[in-house]
């Protein structure tokens, strides 16, 4: 029997996700092309609501679809009441996420791009040990449910991850960034050039007396500020009562220079799509506008629990996981100050590029405390050299109440985060007391 007909006869609501993925990966390890992989994935995930209760199951065994349905129904038998229904068919924005130029990239071209990346790094830093991972996928997915939803989409994600290790004696520097896109980008080497610039800058080592000082977060470093926000703005944490921002929509919680947007509809971006992972149209969600909390991100279930509409933020962490609310492309809106001017105003301070251990500890509370993997001393408006063995700590719910400046300049980093430079007037910088 056809699986849809079978589901129809067994449950009042059902949703079937069919997923197919062909992924080609070329990996350079320590500057050498090491492995090439072709991965084919094919599987199905089913959600059912039977007698008002929700069930889920997934399988990659296409010979055992009846067992998949049986598992989903058994799951529903013990499931909790489902307060929502699966997605209504609705028109979605047209978001460009498929590009022949990416889909047709031959292995040989991926190999060549890897070579181009090494050719940018190694002449500048012959001792660098680079791991470059180039991954091109072709994803076809379809979502169907009992409401007549029948959406099918193709995406062509391309991601290029570059990790550079430089070890000199007991000194270690590790840099990482990743380009993620679904359409071909002619400027695909820009993020590597930025890494090279960091490497060059990191050659001069200087010292900085720990204490209170202005701290300038580079776009990569700004993730330390944004990460706790993404947890606090997640509709699931809000519904559970664990978000510090719960019940504060409409209140001014942050400096008016802070605007945070989740936008899954930008053409070509890594986390963009017309529909989310349960078939709800994706959209642009302004979450914090000029310091005022505007809303949170939801999927169908958490939206129903909270009495609001889904914001199109359902995301599956893979075939085997049911949808959960999650960020798409995270945007920390650029400000009005030129970076030059921000630097010029700093007599002595710290530029934070990369932190160690981001995301660990109790970040839901907004607190963070991290050693700095890469940071520079700013002296009389100039970036004068790398400083080591320092750490910063604070709580973003305090720090972002008073932001000295946000730069006009902004960058996409780590594939899905768009951020400017953010200046905090005064922060505690700790060091080893020796």
């Amino acid at each position: 029997m056809d699986i849809l007909t079978h589901l129809q006869s067994q449950a009042e609501q059902f949703e079937l996700l069919d997923l197919q993925n062909e992924k080609t990966t070329v990996e350079y390890e320590a500057n050498q092309l090491k492995t090439c992989t072709v991965a084919e994935t094919k599987g199905a995930a089913v959600r059912v609501i039977r007698k008002g209760k929700l069930g889920f199951s997934a399988s990659t065994d296409s010979a055992a679809l009846d067992k998949l349905v049986a598992n989903a129904l058994e799951s529903a038998a013990y499931g909790d009441p489902a307060p929502f229904s699966f997605a209504h068919p609705r028109p979605a924005p047209i978001v460009r996420t498929f590009d022949r130029a990416v889909a047709d990239l031959p292995i040989a071209r991926l190999v060549e791009i890897g070579k181009e990346i090494l050719d940018l790094i190694l002449p500048v830093e012959p001792n660098a040990r680079c791991n470059v991972s180039l991954e091109r996928s072709l994803v076809s997915a379809s979502i169907r449910n009992q409401k007549g939803l029948d959406v099918a989409f193709r995406t062509s994600p391309l991601s290029i991850g570059v990790e550079i290790d430089r070890i000199e004696g007991d000194d270690v520097l590790i840099l990482y960034d990743q380009l993620g896109t679904t359409t071909w980008q002619d400027n695909y080497l820009d993020f590597v050039r930025r890494l090279v610039q960091k490497l060059e800058r990191a050659r001069t080592i200087t010292s900085l007396k720990p204490g209170k000082m202005p701290v300038l977060f580079a776009p990569t470093g700004a993730l330390a500020l944004a990460l706790p926000l993404t947890q606090g703005l997640n509709g699931k944490e809000v519904y559970k009562g664990t978000s510090p921002m719960r019940g504060k929509v409409g209140e001014k919680l942050f400096d008016e220079k802070i605007t945070v947007v989740d936008d899954g509809t930008i053409d070509g971006k890594f986390a963009s799509a017309s529909y989310d992972d349960e078939g709800v149209p994706r959209r642009r969600n302004v979450l914090i506008e000029r310091g005022v909390l505007k809303g949170f991100v939801y999927d169908l279930k958490t939206a129903a629990q909270s009495g609001v509409e889904s914001t199109g933020n359902a995301s599956r962490g893979g075939l085997f996981y049911p949808p959960e609310p999650s960020f798409t492309n995270l945007i920390l809106q650029p400000g009005e100050t030129p970076l030059e001017a921000m630097l010029a105003g700093i007599d002595e301070g710290l530029l934070v590029e990369d932190l160690l251990g981001l995301g660990q500890g109790n970040i839901l509370s907004g607190a963070f405390s991290n050693p700095l993997a890469l940071a520079f001393k700013i002296e009389k408006g100039e970036i004068v050299g790398r400083v080591k063995d320092l750490s910063i700590a604070g709580n973003i719910y305090d720090l972002l109440k008073n932001v000295a400046a946000v730069s006009q300049e902004a960058q996409w980093v780590y594939s899905t985060f768009y951020a400017p430079y953010v200046l905090i007037e005064e922060m505690m910088v700790a060091g080893k007391s020796q």
């Binding site: 090439c36 909790d80 009562g241």
Partner: protein
């Protein structure tokens, strides 16, 4: 299946070919707050072919459709043709094994109904939620997985292994005004369903810790003598040192190699560290790794001196050492890489009371939220901690984050407890894209002088 695998291997044009087929059934029940988030089972079945062309490199193909192994072998071979290693890849000798390893469980969790598994998670969840009105959120999880993995290679190895695992965990979030605190406890075993029953104490402990943390003050940043409990010591040795022992990190980097030169002093004479995948029934136990190499005890530090490291066949050949049984993959979607199995600081001689009795002002740090290392620099959050004042355990403190340099820190270990424990926690280790890999960790209490504690 065995015949089809043998046939596909025989037809391969590569210098070395291996095939791994995995069939895995998992069950998961998760409660969060009053709500059941997940209760259900998944099936994952697939395979991987890895081909080596010595003067080119590796090619890999992974797939869910097992019908056409010959095509997959050819795909992997085509991928290997693209690679271009600077020197031919050699593999350390390993006697090809033919062996079937079956699981030994007293009560097979595959025969337990989903209803009973759900009831168990629900009970632990209820214990967390009803502990105090300060508890605002909880998570209680039950998870089991049973995999059957077939490994075969072109040298004649054919190994079938059954790998059962069952885990229960409890997570508590307590709140008082804007102060939100969390705590987590888990237990894992490979031995059967009966071992995860009667874990009420574990759930109660998670709730108790979260509530206690509400009244704890943040630790004052500074440099302290620190005593760490078995859990944090286990995580520390795994994260801060274990990963550096993985030979893929050093094997072709002269500078890292220098840093990890065998014979280098890594601490005082009392420090002994090993990795051992052969101990029965631990979380990281893997009798044959994913290249068919048998597990054994690998001493890494003996009497404070670096004496060994963890290898795949490739890294072992490259460094002229023996394959150590540490080539592991989380599942059929991945080629094996060098990983730990069960890693531990060996037992010492100092009783806990003696360890703290001379500390005027210090910290007793317990449990780990997680940690990260960047080569010799590490950073860890402890789950909870206490001040040590005048040789006594004093008030609880929170937000204790230990960071520092591995070499300095290992050298600052000046006492090792006589209370060794294997930690039967769930969770796993991440490396590359491969997470979570079940690993075991063990240690006694240890004392470290001059630890940098971050904070406000």
């Amino acid at each position: 299946m065995q015949d089809r695998i043998r046939e596909a291997l025989k037809r391969s044009r590569a210098d070395y070919t291996e095939i791994r087929i995995e069939e895995k059934e998992t069950t998961r029940v998760v409660f969060r707050g009053r709500e059941l988030e997940t209760a259900g089972a998944n099936i994952d079945k697939g395979g991987i072919v890895r081909c080596l062309i010595r003067d080119k490199g590796w090619g890999v193909a992974t797939f869910n459709n097992l019908d056409d192994l010959l095509t997959k072998v050819d795909q992997a071979y085509q991928c290997a043709l693209v690679a271009s290693v600077p020197e031919p890849v050699e593999l350390a000798e390993v006697e090809p094994v033919r062996q079937v390893v079956t699981a030994q469980m007293e009560r097979d969790f595959r025969d337990v109904s989903l209803a009973e598994k759900k009831a168990l998670a629900e009970r632990y969840n209820e214990i967390v939620l009803s502990y105090s009105d300060k508890i605002i959120d909880s998570q209680a999880a039950y998870a089991d997985s049973f995999s059957r993995v077939i490994f075969a290679n072109s040298e004649g190895a054919y190994i079938e292994q059954e790998k059962p695992a069952v885990v229960v965990g409890a997570f508590a979030i307590a709140r008082d005004g804007d102060n939100v605190q969390q705590a987590h406890e888990s237990f894992a075993t490979t031995q059967g369903f009966e071992y995860v029953l009667e874990k009420d104490e574990l759930a109660r402990k998670a709730a108790q810790k979260a509530v206690e943390l509400l009244t704890a003050r943040p630790v004052k940043a500074g440099v302290y003598p620190v005593v760490i409990d078995q859990m944090l010591a286990g995580v520390f040795i795994h994260e801060a040192f274990g990963h550096l022992s993985e030979a893929d990190f050093v094997y072709e980097n002269p500078k890292a190699r220098e840093m990890m030169t065998l014979g280098r002093r890594f601490g005082k004479g009392l420090l002994n560290v090993f990795d051992d995948g052969s101990i029965p029934n631990l979380r990281g136990t893997t009798l044959y790794d994913d290249e068919g190499t048998p597990a054994r005890r690998n001493w890494l530090i003996r009497d404070g001196v670096l004496v060994g490291r963890l290898h795949s066949r490739q890294t072992a050949a490259r460094m002229g050492e023996r394959a150590s049984g540490n080539a592991r993959a989380i599942n059929y979607r991945f080629a094996p890489i060098v990983r730990m199995t069960n890693t531990a600081i060996d037992n010492g001689t100092t009783p806990f009371e003696e360890m703290i009795k001379d500390i005027e002002l210090g910290i007793y740090a317990c449990d780990a939220y997680g940690g990260q290392t960047q080569l010799e620099n590490f950073s860890f959050s402890s789950g909870y901690a206490y001040m040590i004042r005048k040789g006594q355990i004093a008030e609880m403190v929170k937000d204790v984050i230990l960071s520092g340099n591995l070499f300095t820190t290992l050298d600052n270990i000046d006492a090792i407890g006589n209370d060794f424990q294997w930690l039967n926690t769930g969770g796993g280790c991440g490396k590359g894209n491969q997470y979570p890999l079940p690993v075991g960790m063990g240690a006694p209490h240890i004392r470290i002088q001059n630890v940098v504690i971050g904070g406000e």
